[in-house]
Symmetry: C2
Subunit: 586 residues, 2 copies
Amino acid sequence: MLRSHTCGELRMEHVNQPVSLCGWVQTKRDKGGMVWIDLRDRYGVTQLIFEEGKTDPQLLEKIRSLGREFVVKAEGKVVERVAKNDKIPTGNIEVRVENLDILNPAKLPPFLIEDETDGGDDLRMKYRYLDLRRNAVRKNLELRHQMMRQTRTYMDSKNFIEVETPVLIKSTPEGARDFVVPSRMNPGEFYALPQSPQTFKQLLMVSGFDRYYQIVKCFRDEDLRADRQPEFTQIDCEMSFITQEDILNTFEGLVKHLFKQVKGIELTNLARMSYADAMKYYGNDKPDTRFEMRFTELNEVAKGKDFSVFNDAELIVGICAKGCAEYTRKQLDELTEFVKRPQIGAKGLVYVRYNADGSIKSSIDKFYSEADLKVWAEKMQAAPGDLLLIISGEATKARKALSELRLEMGERLSLRDKSTYSCLWVLDFPLLEWGEEEQRWFAMHHPFTSPKPEDIHLLESDPGKVRANAYDMVINGVEVGGGSIRIHNRELQAKMFSHLGFTDEEARRQFGFLMEAFEYGAPPHGGIAFGFDRLCSLFGGADSIRDFIAFPKNNSGRDVMIDTPSTISNAQLEELSIRVSMSGKK
Amino acid sequence: MLRSHTCGELRMEHVNQPVSLCGWVQTKRDKGGMVWIDLRDRYGVTQLIFEEGKTDPQLLEKIRSLGREFVVKAEGKVVERVAKNDKIPTGNIEVRVENLDILNPAKLPPFLIEDETDGGDDLRMKYRYLDLRRNAVRKNLELRHQMMRQTRTYMDSKNFIEVETPVLIKSTPEGARDFVVPSRMNPGEFYALPQSPQTFKQLLMVSGFDRYYQIVKCFRDEDLRADRQPEFTQIDCEMSFITQEDILNTFEGLVKHLFKQVKGIELTNLARMSYADAMKYYGNDKPDTRFEMRFTELNEVAKGKDFSVFNDAELIVGICAKGCAEYTRKQLDELTEFVKRPQIGAKGLVYVRYNADGSIKSSIDKFYSEADLKVWAEKMQAAPGDLLLIISGEATKARKALSELRLEMGERLSLRDKSTYSCLWVLDFPLLEWGEEEQRWFAMHHPFTSPKPEDIHLLESDPGKVRANAYDMVINGVEVGGGSIRIHNRELQAKMFSHLGFTDEEARRQFGFLMEAFEYGAPPHGGIAFGFDRLCSLFGGADSIRDFIAFPKNNSGRDVMIDTPSTISNAQLEELSIRVSMSGKK
């Protein structure tokens, strides 16, 4: 090793020892007679000291030439600091340097390598390798490593086997967002990159592997929203001979283990909520349960007056914002603007101020007496000082808009603290959802999800009513994982495909191998997959997943550092038997 | 859980307990009055017993309908066996079944699900999920999991951070065997799948990650020999502020840890050999050192007689096969045929029998006296009873042929036992090798490998003589890992690219980001990568890597189970702005 110690490990007990350290010049302070350098590596920062009269003049000259981010090797003796720094673990000592080698000089970085940097997003993406030097970013990746380790520790302790499934798989028409890979050896044919290892993990269950997991890259070529990546990582799991309850317990265990080991937080048992209740009380299948503010439906008490907006509405639904009765007109206008934004789409917002003095004042006093409004307030468990916010209209839309408003109010009332965690199982999802545009049913989870046995009789008569043995894990309003009990019976699987509009021939061509596998002794099985990037960002208390990925792509799917995607040569295209065809593009 | 225990865990202490087991019907023996079923799961086999008079007649009827590989749940009581089976851990007990549910029936499998199966390769690949049910195959994947765990345990204990590098990267002309991925969002542009995370791990060193590892999928679109796969797994590692010696020690530690933890074998310190010595003494840069049989060069003692074959040869080189003096004429002819095979390419084979009685007899007695041959025998440290085998010709070809013969003799003499392990570091590889066809130098390892400082002055004058700080780990004649100290200086890297025939513009376009990174403070660094599939097969005592991969591809790069690669729809091609162009193909 070029060093005897790292920059994070020297303490008082090392005083008088000769040491050698390697690292980057973080800062240099030159006070004439004395020069200090903070030397940084992954493990910490150690102060180097040089003193005129004590330090060799040539060495002093050399260190005065050092710039930020130079890579050096320093040899010297550990001494006790006069002015101790209790903010860093090495703050009691410094190294009086006798010899220093410049291992590599450095140009001035395009932005500050510090916790608070002056670099914009684009610049930091282009020089990602410099951004990764910043403590904040490196700590995110250390957290990620810790999450991986602890995930594996837990899964191994529960007898799960990690099995690598293939990356070069088969494209399916369902997977319109597959990335494909032309095969040179099989001209005109393509592999696809997996959106998930779903069918393979089910086959492993058919093989008797009993308990499988994998921390695995998956791929989806979709238009990237702010926080999606074309390649992402999942904790992918499957178990045999289990009921839904076993899966919930096993993976509740995983999440508890991670919180305990990585964050030092002891979670109590996770709350559970049906999809129906989540929609009814939060207007959302991934409610943020760090705060209550549940929906109250007001149809019974708000209809039948002269207010046609409510009378014509399918649903009148409200939330009670504790202690907000004194919101100003301006604040209320802001909230109204907020719900009327196109992406939220409410027509308007009704408010009822339940003043601290017990009086009640609303935006629709013309139609409702104080007594009427008191009834609402009571139904909504409001107390004097609270503000009621009410939206009406078509039920689905009203719930969606109120859900957004609820989250906004949670934000305004500081109820969404990133260091507080509220975990929830959402259960009993519908099996199917209707595609208005395509005029057919789609699998809400995926086509391999099992309907609840007691609902199977509804498959023909009322498909939308059929509930699935499907579950999501939601933390702080973010869906971090989801899964289901699978179909393990060929007939039922074939029936599902047919409900989803597959012809027998299509089902056979795409999933014949799986349906055939079900005929050779498939055990009852089910599983779950967690979005690992998202889980890491939640544990890191961050909004974006990007800073928990070493080399992320930007919103156009580009890595601007290595400049990819990029064109390839005609010779390479020819080898692969493909041509670029830009008709109607760009 | 549908079961109270697995099929591997019941013992005498469970006798009289009520239990429920789930699994596959391995065998059924029906002796009229008694029926036994061996029920199998991942954890073992448990015998179920049914007895006329004691078992409910309807249940007896049901179990008589069971076929092989039916999936069942059996409930009953553990009883002590009359005839114990000490070959299996559950052999002292059996379960007297009171209730049995058929969870899924099974068609008759196309081959026997047993250690010795009757299924051919093609059939087993098509029904890979059934092949994976066989103990032998499942144990391979359990070994692989164990290898992964122990690798991570070791690397974590040494402060390495596992960092995931991207799968969608940039194609480089050097990488003519890149798999590419068209980008839908960037029409006409392509990602490439990594042949290794080389540049990313070097960037992580520039970022100060200090110690990186990853167990990672890599991809190479090359014509597949019997034992290559288009996607394969590496243990990829990199360290900063180290010398070559540190890397050798660290990864010698990894290999020792794996042998100890996975195989229970304590390795002594690994032997080391220079590339030059490996070529000189074994004719091979990955010598199988389970046995000696080193080469002896005979130019000095064999030239100058009337034997023109030797007189004209650049090299005369032989091995001594202990105790083989009595090989028959037929055996010797076989060896001659062996070395004359086109893929080995020797013109002939000279043998010298050093008989047990001290006499000497050779195939070239016409030219050499017994005294001459005694000199050879002495030089080759032969004893009476040994056989000398000698090849001559152009030096490189003679060594290659003799290396093959040496391995063949090792095989014939049973010196290559798969349960014996001999590990070796091969050091000091040449930096460059001459491409005869392309008439230019190629990097023997890769363009990022550092020349030995003391050899840099030869780069211009005698490039072939420059040695690299590169090393391979060889186990039993198989290269399982290789790496190098990297260049961390922009000028030297640019010089290397120019030696490899890159124009400045090409170097900049392809690796500009890396060369630029070297200007912002790159630490000295180096690393290694192990072929994980190969390492697993070695530990498993097998020749082929295929049985250590859950879902391998065949020699045409096909997964015949899911039938990929396959065609994709025109709509999908259009979305991706590509067209299939079969000109001159197929």
